[in-house]
Amino acid sequence: MSTYTPSKPILLQGNEACVAGALYAGVEFFAGYPITPSTEIAEGMAREMPRIGGKFIQMEDEIGSIAAIIGASNAGLKSMTATSGPGYSLMQENIGYAYMTETPCIIINVQRGGPSTGLPTKIGQADTMQARWGTHGDYTAVTLAPSTVKGCFEETVRAINIAERFRTPVTVLTDEVLGHMREMMVIPQQGELEVYNRHKPDVPNDWYRHFEVTPSLVGPMASFGEGYRYNISGLTHDEDGFPTANSEEIRRKLEKLQKKIMRYAEEIIKIRTEMMDDAHVAVFSYGTVARSALQAVKMARERRIKVGAIQPLTIWPFPDLQLREMLKNVRKVIVAELNMGQLVHEVRRIAPRGTEVVQLGRYDGEVMTPQQIFDKIREAVK
């Protein structure tokens, strides 16, 4: 039995909410390596996994952790790991392996300041682009970014569902402040939130193709020991998983990795707005910054400034169409993030002509305050 009982209010840390969300979504395997500020997730999993008959293993490093969860996922268990910047960097090669081998798994990156060892106990949001382009080669990433403790729970559940449904690794980006912040939340009852279980094959062994390009693009997925024998390889492979040098097969494989996400982008993308109906100015922010942004927008509204807030909960794939529509009547969009400018480039790329994009960055290890954003809003309407 899990520690987290549904239906009554409990005080949870963001990191604990990720653990509770993982349990809710049916995660049965966790491998990790201690790293600040994510360690409470590993600690929670070490406590909870034996109690539900799941598996926990503390690996020798982060490379081993991501390798183990990929192995576990291919053995049939919903799998996850948690880390922070340096560990996320170490994991990148095998995250690429998960893309290539279409292995469902999730990585929670509780961000801290970087580069390198950086600021283990301070906040940062500078892994945004790494979540998209961290491993080498072509692929389409899915990354979710909650901003509340309840959001940590919900986005962890959603990340696992997306991973299982589209057979892909998914990153959840939180941060030091969100991971350690405590808020009240109510764990939903089973059935309240969707939980997706991967689609299994029912054909004979000889017919099964582990990487088949089906009409929906994502084929059923067998697990080891279920009577199907197939090859999985990080080498570019054909639909049977055998390494290929055939240019047609190579192209098909890479396009599959892209299309299986982009065709379903509308279902994957979640973007929230506040007070955008009549807004001439918008604040675009994600993660912890979105909390300050909302407060700043309220402060500005009290001064009758027509400003709204846009918060993508899915940052990859980037919500191109949705954001373009939202910015249609916006003269200025302030992009607030805890880095020297990452998602601002995406906003610039899709902002309609006539919408000015204003960058607001902070990278001194401190949170972005509502006042800072409010000042920027005032500047924008001057």
């Binding site: 034996p50 008959g53 183990a68 969860i69 090669e93 392996y97 390889s233």
Partner: protein, 279 residues
């Protein structure tokens, strides 16, 4: 004649019908000999094909799983044991066999190797040890003997070597053996012994890379190299009565270390039962 036919039938029963041959290995490579020994060992043990998972890393030897008709996982360089750990912990009933090379296992994968030994997790590791990086074209490995040439040691190797048998023993592996591609029947028995053993098992298979190592060090073709391996191998039992002088330049073969120890997955299962998580 009859046994010969039977042997080839066994081999074909365990090779993938869909996979196109020939394989990627050079003619005369020891990898095929080890693959044959592995197949016969699995056949001797009468393992269910659906219950065997073969995991490998990157390198010539790591291309083996693609030909084998089991569940196979060809992973990233050095990480096979970490992937295999995830598979084994998830489904302890599966027989998990790792195929790796000396560069894959002892250089880039060294950390995973010692920790898999330490956990004594029930994984069989077959290390095909040809003392060189073959796939990338003949660079020195942690096993390349002193003075020997490699493309990245053009004046001779001046580094010290790892002995995988001593390394595994020191790190806690509970079954450690060494065989060669010449002593095929012994190799087959050791692989079967390793798979049957409960706990972490290593079989260090001394093999030949005549294409790079042999050519650069003027050690001849595949036959000459395998003949040399034969001459250098001394069974661990025979070595007991040999003087250190006589053992100079030789290496030991056979089951070199074996001990009883608790196994990782079984210990974890006890924890699950104690916490009431048994489903």
């Amino acid at each position: 004649m009859q046994t010969e036919q039977l042997a080839s039938e066994i081999i074909h029963h365990y090779l993938r019908p869909k996979k196109k041959f020939p394989n990627v290995w050079c003619a005369g490579c020891g990898n095929g000999i080890v693959m044959g020994a592995l197949i016969r060992a699995i056949d001797d043990l009468k393992l269910d094909k659906n219950g065997v998972v073969v995991v490998s890393g990157i390198g010539c030897s790591s291309r083996m799983p693609v030909y084998l008709d089991f569940s196979t996982l060809h992973t990233t360089h050095g990480r096979a044991l970490a992937f295999a750990t995830g598979v084994k912990v998830s489904k302890p009933n599966l027989k998990v066999i790792v195929i790796t090379g000396d560069g894959d296992c002892l250089a880039i994968g060294g950390n995973h190797f010692i920790h898999a030994c330490r956990r004594n997790i029930d994984i069989t590791t077959i290390l095909i040890n040809n003392k060189i990086y073959g796939m990338t074209g003949g660079q020195f490995a942690p096993t390349t003997p002193g003075g020997k040439k490699a493309t990245t040691a053009p004046y001779g190797n001046y580094e010290k070597q790892f002995d995988p048998v001593r390394l595994a023993t020191g790190a806690g592996a509970s079954y450690v053996a060494r065989g060669t591609v010449y002593h095929v029947q012994q190799l087959e028995k050791m692989i079967a012994g390793a798979i049957a053993h409960k706990g972490f098992a290593l079989v260090d298979c001394i093999s030949n890379c005549h294409t790079y190592y042999g050519r650069m060090n003027k050690e001849g073709d595949a036959v000459a190299m395998i003949d040399q391996i034969k001459k250098q191998a001394v069974n661990v039992k025979a070595a007991e009565n040999m003087s250190p002088e006589k053992l100079e330049g030789k290496f030991l073969t056979g089951v070199i270390h074996e001990h009883e120890a608790t196994e990782f997955c079984e210990e974890y299962q006890k924890l699950v039962e104690a916490q009431g998580g048994n489903k």
